[in-house]
Protein backbone atom coordinates (compact mmCIF):
# COMPACT_ATOMS: atom_id res chain seq x y z
CA UNK A 1 0.00 0.00 0.00
CA UNK A 2 2.96 2.35 0.58
CA UNK A 3 1.65 4.48 3.44
CA UNK A 4 4.33 4.94 6.05
CA UNK A 5 2.71 7.48 8.32
CA UNK A 6 -0.83 8.52 9.11
CA UNK A 7 -1.26 12.08 10.39
CA UNK A 8 -4.31 13.85 11.81
CA UNK A 9 -3.41 17.53 12.26
CA UNK A 10 -5.58 19.63 14.54
CA UNK A 11 -4.88 23.03 13.04
CA UNK A 12 -4.17 24.60 9.71
CA UNK A 13 -0.65 25.44 10.87
CA UNK A 14 0.02 21.84 11.69
CA UNK A 15 -1.43 20.65 8.40
CA UNK A 16 0.60 23.16 6.41
CA UNK A 17 3.71 22.11 8.28
CA UNK A 18 3.15 18.47 7.34
CA UNK A 19 2.56 19.44 3.72
CA UNK A 20 5.74 21.48 3.62
CA UNK A 21 7.72 18.37 4.48
CA UNK A 22 6.38 16.79 1.31
CA UNK A 23 5.13 13.44 0.00
CA UNK A 24 1.64 13.82 1.37
CA UNK A 25 -1.70 12.48 0.20
CA UNK A 26 -4.58 14.55 1.61
CA UNK A 27 -7.66 12.73 2.90
CA UNK A 28 -10.95 14.55 3.48
CA UNK A 29 -14.16 12.60 2.82
CA UNK A 30 -12.40 9.79 0.99
CA UNK A 31 -15.13 9.28 -1.59
CA UNK A 32 -12.72 9.94 -4.47
CA UNK A 33 -9.47 8.92 -2.82
CA UNK A 34 -10.55 5.42 -1.81
CA UNK A 35 -11.70 4.19 -5.24
CA UNK A 36 -8.80 5.91 -6.95
CA UNK A 37 -6.16 4.26 -4.76
CA UNK A 38 -7.93 0.90 -4.87
CA UNK A 39 -7.97 0.94 -8.65
CA UNK A 40 -4.39 2.10 -8.84
CA UNK A 41 -5.30 5.34 -10.57
CA UNK A 42 -3.70 7.24 -7.70
CA UNK A 43 -0.80 6.00 -5.62
CA UNK A 44 -0.51 6.82 -1.96
CA UNK A 45 2.34 9.08 -0.95
CA UNK A 46 4.27 7.91 2.12
CA UNK A 47 2.26 10.25 4.37
CA UNK A 48 -1.54 10.08 4.51
CA UNK A 49 -2.91 13.24 6.12
CA UNK A 50 -6.49 13.27 7.34
CA UNK A 51 -7.62 16.89 7.56
CA UNK A 52 -11.01 16.23 9.11
CA UNK A 53 -10.01 17.79 12.42
CA UNK A 54 -8.67 21.06 11.06
CA UNK A 55 -11.20 23.65 12.28
CA UNK A 56 -10.19 26.33 9.75
CA UNK A 57 -11.60 24.09 7.00
CA UNK A 58 -15.08 24.03 8.48
CA UNK A 59 -18.06 26.28 8.18
CA UNK A 60 -20.27 28.09 5.74
CA UNK A 61 -20.65 31.81 6.32
CA UNK A 62 -21.18 35.07 4.50
CA UNK A 63 -19.00 38.10 4.96
CA UNK A 64 -19.17 41.28 2.94
CA UNK A 65 -21.04 39.82 0.00
CA UNK A 66 -18.85 36.74 -0.25
CA UNK A 67 -19.99 33.29 0.84
CA UNK A 68 -17.08 31.37 2.29
CA UNK A 69 -17.44 27.59 2.19
CA UNK A 70 -14.89 25.65 4.19
CA UNK A 71 -13.15 22.90 2.26
CA UNK A 72 -14.58 20.26 4.56
CA UNK A 73 -18.19 21.28 3.99
CA UNK A 74 -19.99 18.16 2.85
CA UNK A 75 -22.46 18.22 0.00
CA UNK A 76 -25.21 17.46 2.51
CA UNK A 77 -24.16 20.46 4.61
CA UNK A 78 -24.40 22.59 1.48
CA UNK A 79 -27.86 21.19 0.76
CA UNK A 80 -29.01 21.89 4.29
CA UNK A 81 -27.54 25.39 4.39
CA UNK A 82 -30.13 28.11 4.09
CA UNK A 83 -27.36 30.44 3.06
CA UNK A 84 -26.34 28.28 0.12
CA UNK A 85 -29.90 27.65 -0.94
CA UNK A 86 -30.81 31.32 -0.92
CA UNK A 87 -27.60 33.00 -1.97
CA UNK A 88 -25.99 30.41 -4.23
CA UNK A 89 -29.03 28.58 -5.52
CA UNK A 90 -27.24 27.44 -8.66
CA UNK A 91 -24.73 25.59 -6.52
CA UNK A 92 -27.50 24.26 -4.32
CA UNK A 93 -29.27 22.74 -7.32
CA UNK A 94 -26.11 20.89 -8.30
CA UNK A 95 -25.78 19.50 -4.80
CA UNK A 96 -29.26 18.06 -5.12
CA UNK A 97 -28.13 16.16 -8.20
CA UNK A 98 -24.95 14.85 -6.64
CA UNK A 99 -24.59 11.07 -6.36
CA UNK A 100 -26.53 9.63 -3.43
CA UNK A 101 -27.31 10.54 0.17
CA UNK A 102 -24.51 8.29 1.43
CA UNK A 103 -21.96 9.97 -0.78
CA UNK A 104 -23.28 13.48 -0.13
CA UNK A 105 -22.85 12.88 3.59
CA UNK A 106 -19.14 12.23 3.19
CA UNK A 107 -18.00 14.05 0.05
CA UNK A 108 -16.52 17.48 0.63
CA UNK A 109 -16.47 20.49 -1.61
CA UNK A 110 -12.72 20.71 -1.15
CA UNK A 111 -12.34 17.17 -2.39
CA UNK A 112 -14.65 17.80 -5.33
CA UNK A 113 -12.67 20.91 -6.33
CA UNK A 114 -9.26 19.29 -5.99
CA UNK A 115 -10.42 16.22 -7.90
CA UNK A 116 -11.12 18.63 -10.77
CA UNK A 117 -13.19 16.19 -12.76
CA UNK A 118 -14.23 17.47 -16.20
CA UNK A 119 -17.75 16.47 -15.15
CA UNK A 120 -17.64 17.69 -11.54
CA UNK A 121 -21.17 18.52 -10.45
CA UNK A 122 -20.31 21.34 -8.04
CA UNK A 123 -17.60 22.74 -10.28
CA UNK A 124 -19.94 23.80 -13.04
CA UNK A 125 -22.05 26.18 -10.94
CA UNK A 126 -19.01 27.34 -8.98
CA UNK A 127 -17.41 28.35 -12.23
CA UNK A 128 -20.56 30.10 -13.36
CA UNK A 129 -20.63 31.98 -10.03
CA UNK A 130 -17.01 33.18 -10.35
CA UNK A 131 -15.82 31.16 -7.36
CA UNK A 132 -12.24 31.28 -6.20
CA UNK A 133 -10.24 28.93 -4.05
CA UNK A 134 -8.28 29.87 -0.96
CA UNK A 135 -4.98 28.03 -0.60
CA UNK A 136 -2.74 28.03 2.44
CA UNK A 137 0.88 27.00 2.83
CA UNK A 138 3.96 27.58 4.98
CA UNK A 139 6.69 27.93 2.40
CA UNK A 140 8.93 30.06 4.59
CA UNK A 141 7.86 29.23 8.10
CA UNK A 142 4.83 31.54 8.23
CA UNK A 143 1.32 30.67 7.11
CA UNK A 144 0.48 32.33 3.80
CA UNK A 145 -2.73 32.28 1.82
CA UNK A 146 -3.48 33.04 -1.78
CA UNK A 147 -6.67 33.20 -3.78
CA UNK A 148 -7.03 31.76 -7.28
CA UNK A 149 -10.11 31.96 -9.51
CA UNK A 150 -11.52 28.51 -10.00
CA UNK A 151 -11.12 28.69 -13.76
CA UNK A 152 -7.37 29.22 -13.28
CA UNK A 153 -7.07 26.72 -10.46
CA UNK A 154 -8.22 23.85 -12.67
CA UNK A 155 -5.59 23.36 -15.34
CA UNK A 156 -6.52 20.02 -16.92
CA UNK A 157 -8.64 16.92 -16.45
CA UNK A 158 -8.09 15.96 -12.80
CA UNK A 159 -5.31 18.54 -12.45
CA UNK A 160 -5.06 21.75 -10.48
CA UNK A 161 -2.33 24.28 -9.87
CA UNK A 162 -2.27 23.47 -6.17
CA UNK A 163 1.37 23.28 -5.17
CA UNK A 164 2.32 20.19 -3.21
CA UNK A 165 2.82 22.25 -0.08
CA UNK A 166 -0.59 23.91 -0.36
CA UNK A 167 -3.85 22.97 1.24
CA UNK A 168 -7.25 24.01 -0.11
CA UNK A 169 -8.82 25.85 2.80
CA UNK A 170 -12.04 27.23 1.42
CA UNK A 171 -14.03 28.15 -1.65
CA UNK A 172 -15.21 31.74 -1.79
CA UNK A 173 -18.19 32.63 -3.92
CA UNK A 174 -19.29 36.23 -4.39
CA UNK A 175 -23.00 36.68 -4.11
CA UNK A 176 -24.54 37.00 -7.54
CA UNK A 177 -26.23 40.33 -8.27
CA UNK A 178 -29.75 40.90 -7.02
CA UNK A 179 -32.33 39.35 -9.33
CA UNK A 180 -29.90 36.75 -10.65
CA UNK A 181 -31.61 33.43 -11.38
CA UNK A 182 -30.02 30.27 -12.65
CA UNK A 183 -30.63 26.67 -13.47
CA UNK A 184 -28.39 23.64 -13.24
CA UNK A 185 -29.06 20.86 -15.71
CA UNK A 186 -27.43 17.47 -15.56
CA UNK A 187 -28.19 15.00 -18.30
CA UNK A 188 -29.16 11.57 -17.15
CA UNK A 189 -32.03 9.26 -16.38
CA UNK A 190 -31.46 9.44 -12.65
CA UNK A 191 -31.69 12.44 -10.33
CA UNK A 192 -28.18 12.10 -8.98
CA UNK A 193 -26.35 8.82 -9.30
CA UNK A 194 -25.10 9.50 -12.81
CA UNK A 195 -21.83 10.87 -14.08
CA UNK A 196 -23.04 13.67 -16.30
CA UNK A 197 -22.92 13.13 -20.04
CA UNK A 198 -23.22 16.90 -20.12
CA UNK A 199 -24.08 19.43 -17.47
CA UNK A 200 -24.99 23.08 -17.73
CA UNK A 201 -25.14 25.90 -15.22
CA UNK A 202 -26.68 29.02 -16.69
CA UNK A 203 -28.06 32.17 -15.15
CA UNK A 204 -28.68 35.87 -15.64
CA UNK A 205 -30.70 38.76 -14.33
CA UNK A 206 -33.31 40.76 -16.13
CA UNK A 207 -32.68 44.40 -16.77
CA UNK A 208 -35.95 45.50 -18.30
CA UNK A 209 -36.26 43.54 -21.50
CA UNK A 210 -32.64 42.42 -21.70
CA UNK A 211 -30.36 40.00 -19.88
CA UNK A 212 -27.39 41.10 -17.81
CA UNK A 213 -24.69 39.26 -15.92
CA UNK A 214 -25.13 36.27 -18.15
CA UNK A 215 -23.22 33.23 -16.95
CA UNK A 216 -22.95 29.97 -18.87
CA UNK A 217 -20.77 27.04 -17.79
CA UNK A 218 -20.52 23.47 -19.01
CA UNK A 219 -19.34 20.18 -17.63
CA UNK A 220 -18.30 16.98 -19.40
CA UNK A 221 -17.83 18.65 -22.78
CA UNK A 222 -14.19 19.69 -22.54
CA UNK A 223 -11.02 18.58 -20.75
CA UNK A 224 -12.16 20.64 -17.77
CA UNK A 225 -15.37 22.34 -16.73
CA UNK A 226 -15.57 25.54 -18.75
CA UNK A 227 -17.20 28.93 -18.91
CA UNK A 228 -18.56 29.87 -22.31
CA UNK A 229 -17.67 33.56 -22.63
CA UNK A 230 -18.62 33.89 -26.28
CA UNK A 231 -21.99 32.36 -25.60
CA UNK A 232 -22.43 34.75 -22.70
CA UNK A 233 -21.51 37.64 -24.97
CA UNK A 234 -24.20 36.64 -27.45
CA UNK A 235 -26.83 37.06 -24.74
CA UNK A 236 -25.41 39.90 -22.67
CA UNK A 237 -27.58 42.98 -23.05
CA UNK A 238 -29.91 41.22 -25.43
CA UNK A 239 -33.55 40.34 -25.21
CA UNK A 240 -33.92 36.58 -24.82
CA UNK A 241 -36.12 35.91 -27.82
CA UNK A 242 -36.02 32.76 -29.93
CA UNK A 243 -33.37 34.17 -32.25
CA UNK A 244 -31.10 35.06 -29.34
CA UNK A 245 -31.42 31.64 -27.78
CA UNK A 246 -30.77 29.97 -31.10
CA UNK A 247 -27.69 32.11 -31.62
CA UNK A 248 -26.45 31.30 -28.13
CA UNK A 249 -26.93 27.57 -28.72
CA UNK A 250 -24.99 27.78 -31.98
CA UNK A 251 -22.18 29.70 -30.34
CA UNK A 252 -22.00 27.21 -27.49
CA UNK A 253 -21.25 24.49 -30.01
CA UNK A 254 -18.13 26.38 -30.95
CA UNK A 255 -16.95 26.66 -27.37
CA UNK A 256 -17.29 23.02 -26.38
CA UNK A 257 -14.96 20.17 -27.32
CA UNK A 258 -16.75 16.98 -26.27
CA UNK A 259 -15.21 13.57 -26.72
CA UNK A 260 -16.77 10.17 -27.23
CA UNK A 261 -16.51 7.83 -24.28
CA UNK A 262 -18.43 5.05 -22.61
CA UNK A 263 -21.14 7.51 -21.54
CA UNK A 264 -21.89 9.29 -24.80
CA UNK A 265 -20.55 10.15 -28.23
CA UNK A 266 -19.30 13.58 -29.08
CA UNK A 267 -22.11 13.98 -31.62
CA UNK A 268 -24.76 13.34 -29.00
CA UNK A 269 -23.11 15.68 -26.50
CA UNK A 270 -23.23 18.45 -29.07
CA UNK A 271 -26.92 17.78 -29.72
CA UNK A 272 -27.55 17.95 -25.98
CA UNK A 273 -25.56 21.15 -25.53
CA UNK A 274 -27.55 22.75 -28.29
CA UNK A 275 -30.98 21.54 -27.25
CA UNK A 276 -30.59 21.82 -23.51
CA UNK A 277 -28.89 25.20 -23.41
CA UNK A 278 -31.93 26.59 -25.16
CA UNK A 279 -34.20 24.82 -22.73
CA UNK A 280 -32.27 25.93 -19.64
CA UNK A 281 -32.14 29.53 -20.83
CA UNK A 282 -35.86 29.44 -21.56
CA UNK A 283 -36.50 28.33 -17.97
CA UNK A 284 -34.13 30.89 -16.55
CA UNK A 285 -35.86 33.67 -18.43
CA UNK A 286 -39.15 32.62 -16.92
CA UNK A 287 -37.81 32.66 -13.38
Amino acid sequence: MGIERYRTPRSLEEAAEILRAGNVTVLAGGTDLMPQTQSGKVRFQPVLMNVRRVPELQGIAEDGGVVRIGALATITELLESKLVRERLNLLWQACDHFASDQIRNAATIGGNVCNASPAGDTLVPLLALDARVVLAAKPNGALETRRVPLGEFIVGPGRTCRASGELLVAVEVPRPPAGFAGEFYKHGTRPGLDIAAISIAAGARRDGAVLRDVRVAFGAVAPTVIRAPRTEAVLEGRSPDAAALAAAARMALEEVQPISDVRATDWYRRELVHNMLKRVLTHVCQL
Partner: protein, 165 residues
Amino acid sequence: MSANCDIAFTLNAVKRELTVPAGMSTLEMLRERLGLTGTKYGCGEGECGACTVIVDGATVNACLMFAADCDGRELMTIEGVAVSEAGERLRDAFVANGAVQCGFCTPGLVVQATHFIAQHPDADEAAIRRGIEGNLCRCTGYRKIIDAIAAAVHASSQGGEHGRG
Protein backbone atom coordinates in the same frame (compact mmCIF):
# COMPACT_ATOMS: atom_id res chain seq x y z
CA MET B 1 3.73 -2.43 3.67
CA SER B 2 1.32 -0.03 5.27
CA ALA B 3 1.54 2.00 8.43
CA ASN B 4 -0.74 0.92 11.25
CA CYS B 5 -3.04 3.30 13.07
CA ASP B 6 -4.39 2.94 16.54
CA ILE B 7 -7.99 3.97 16.58
CA ALA B 8 -10.59 4.29 19.29
CA PHE B 9 -14.22 4.64 18.41
CA THR B 10 -17.72 3.71 19.47
CA LEU B 11 -19.28 0.86 17.55
CA ASN B 12 -22.94 0.08 18.10
CA ALA B 13 -22.74 1.95 21.41
CA VAL B 14 -19.74 -0.02 22.64
CA LYS B 15 -16.23 1.50 22.93
CA ARG B 16 -13.67 -0.27 20.75
CA GLU B 17 -9.95 0.03 20.30
CA LEU B 18 -8.23 -1.40 17.30
CA THR B 19 -5.07 -1.17 15.21
CA VAL B 20 -5.71 -1.03 11.49
CA PRO B 21 -3.56 -0.54 8.37
CA ALA B 22 -3.83 3.04 7.15
CA GLY B 23 -5.20 2.02 3.76
CA MET B 24 -7.90 -0.35 5.00
CA SER B 25 -11.53 0.51 4.35
CA THR B 26 -14.14 0.62 7.09
CA LEU B 27 -16.00 -2.14 5.25
CA GLU B 28 -13.02 -4.44 5.42
CA MET B 29 -12.45 -3.59 9.07
CA LEU B 30 -16.04 -4.42 9.97
CA ARG B 31 -16.22 -7.68 8.07
CA GLU B 32 -12.71 -9.09 8.36
CA ARG B 33 -11.42 -7.70 11.64
CA LEU B 34 -14.58 -7.37 13.69
CA GLY B 35 -16.64 -10.25 12.32
CA LEU B 36 -19.65 -8.02 11.62
CA THR B 37 -20.87 -9.52 8.40
CA GLY B 38 -24.22 -7.75 8.22
CA THR B 39 -22.61 -4.92 6.24
CA LYS B 40 -22.14 -6.28 2.74
CA TYR B 41 -19.64 -5.92 -0.09
CA GLY B 42 -21.66 -5.12 -3.19
CA CYS B 43 -19.25 -3.18 -5.36
CA GLY B 44 -16.55 -1.55 -3.28
CA GLU B 45 -17.05 1.72 -5.16
CA GLY B 46 -19.90 3.48 -3.41
CA GLU B 47 -22.39 2.78 -6.19
CA CYS B 48 -24.68 0.17 -4.64
CA GLY B 49 -25.22 1.09 -0.98
CA ALA B 50 -24.94 -2.48 0.31
CA CYS B 51 -22.26 -1.33 2.75
CA THR B 52 -24.23 1.59 4.22
CA VAL B 53 -23.36 2.38 7.85
CA ILE B 54 -24.07 5.35 10.09
CA VAL B 55 -21.13 7.54 11.14
CA ASP B 56 -21.74 10.39 13.57
CA GLY B 57 -25.41 10.27 12.73
CA ALA B 58 -25.15 10.27 8.93
CA THR B 59 -25.09 7.37 6.51
CA VAL B 60 -22.02 6.70 4.41
CA ASN B 61 -20.70 3.89 2.23
CA ALA B 62 -18.29 1.95 4.43
CA CYS B 63 -16.35 0.89 1.35
CA LEU B 64 -15.35 4.49 0.68
CA MET B 65 -14.35 5.35 4.21
CA PHE B 66 -10.90 4.76 5.58
CA ALA B 67 -10.95 2.65 8.75
CA ALA B 68 -8.46 5.03 10.29
CA ASP B 69 -11.04 7.77 9.86
CA CYS B 70 -13.28 6.00 12.38
CA ASP B 71 -11.07 7.31 15.16
CA GLY B 72 -13.03 9.41 17.61
CA ARG B 73 -16.31 8.75 15.88
CA GLU B 74 -19.55 6.91 16.51
CA LEU B 75 -20.36 4.08 14.16
CA MET B 76 -23.53 2.15 13.87
CA THR B 77 -23.94 -0.86 11.61
CA ILE B 78 -27.01 -2.95 10.80
CA GLU B 79 -26.28 -5.04 13.87
CA GLY B 80 -26.80 -1.96 16.03
CA VAL B 81 -29.64 -0.51 14.01
CA ALA B 82 -31.51 -3.82 14.11
CA VAL B 83 -31.81 -3.71 17.88
CA SER B 84 -32.80 -0.06 18.08
CA GLU B 85 -36.43 0.94 18.33
CA ALA B 86 -36.44 2.67 14.97
CA GLY B 87 -34.60 -0.23 13.37
CA GLU B 88 -37.03 -2.79 14.74
CA ARG B 89 -39.94 -0.74 13.49
CA LEU B 90 -38.37 -0.61 10.07
CA ARG B 91 -37.52 -4.29 10.11
CA ASP B 92 -41.12 -5.15 10.95
CA ALA B 93 -42.29 -2.92 8.13
CA PHE B 94 -39.89 -4.56 5.66
CA VAL B 95 -41.11 -8.00 6.70
CA ALA B 96 -44.81 -7.16 6.69
CA ASN B 97 -44.66 -5.37 3.34
CA GLY B 98 -42.73 -8.04 1.45
CA ALA B 99 -39.71 -5.80 0.94
CA VAL B 100 -37.22 -8.65 1.31
CA GLN B 101 -36.45 -11.25 -1.36
CA CYS B 102 -32.86 -12.44 -1.54
CA GLY B 103 -32.11 -9.95 1.20
CA PHE B 104 -28.58 -9.03 0.19
CA CYS B 105 -29.39 -5.34 -0.25
CA THR B 106 -31.64 -5.29 2.80
CA PRO B 107 -29.17 -4.40 5.58
CA GLY B 108 -27.91 -1.40 3.62
CA LEU B 109 -31.48 -0.32 2.94
CA VAL B 110 -32.59 -0.72 6.54
CA VAL B 111 -29.68 1.41 7.71
CA GLN B 112 -30.24 4.03 5.04
CA ALA B 113 -33.98 4.12 5.64
CA THR B 114 -33.60 4.39 9.41
CA HIS B 115 -31.40 7.42 8.99
CA PHE B 116 -33.59 8.88 6.27
CA ILE B 117 -36.77 8.61 8.30
CA ALA B 118 -35.08 10.29 11.25
CA GLN B 119 -34.10 13.18 8.97
CA HIS B 120 -37.40 13.32 7.07
CA PRO B 121 -40.20 12.23 9.36
CA ASP B 122 -42.82 13.50 6.91
CA ALA B 123 -41.30 12.01 3.78
CA ASP B 124 -43.68 11.34 0.90
CA GLU B 125 -43.20 8.83 -1.91
CA ALA B 126 -41.04 11.13 -4.01
CA ALA B 127 -38.77 11.94 -1.08
CA ILE B 128 -38.46 8.28 -0.13
CA ARG B 129 -37.46 7.37 -3.68
CA ARG B 130 -34.73 10.02 -3.59
CA GLY B 131 -33.72 8.93 -0.11
CA ILE B 132 -32.83 5.44 -1.28
CA GLU B 133 -31.46 6.37 -4.70
CA GLY B 134 -28.02 5.19 -3.62
CA ASN B 135 -29.18 1.65 -2.78
CA LEU B 136 -29.44 -0.89 -5.57
CA CYS B 137 -31.82 -3.83 -5.42
CA ARG B 138 -32.10 -6.43 -8.14
CA CYS B 139 -34.96 -8.54 -6.80
CA THR B 140 -37.85 -6.40 -5.59
CA GLY B 141 -38.13 -3.57 -8.08
CA TYR B 142 -38.12 -1.24 -5.02
CA ARG B 143 -41.91 -0.98 -4.87
CA LYS B 144 -42.35 -2.82 -1.60
CA ILE B 145 -39.24 -1.27 -0.14
CA ILE B 146 -40.78 2.15 -0.71
CA ASP B 147 -44.07 0.88 0.75
CA ALA B 148 -42.26 -0.44 3.82
CA ILE B 149 -40.48 2.84 4.42
CA ALA B 150 -43.72 4.75 3.95
CA ALA B 151 -45.39 2.43 6.47
CA ALA B 152 -42.57 3.01 8.94
CA VAL B 153 -42.83 6.79 8.43
CA HIS B 154 -46.51 6.53 9.19
CA ALA B 155 -45.92 4.27 12.19
CA SER B 156 -43.29 6.51 13.71
CA SER B 157 -45.50 9.53 13.32
CA GLN B 158 -48.15 7.70 15.30
CA GLY B 159 -45.83 7.51 18.27
CA GLY B 160 -43.49 4.90 19.61
CA GLU B 161 -45.93 2.61 21.38
CA HIS B 162 -48.18 2.18 18.40
CA GLY B 163 -45.27 1.93 16.07
CA ARG B 164 -45.28 -1.76 15.54
CA GLY B 165 -47.40 -3.73 13.11
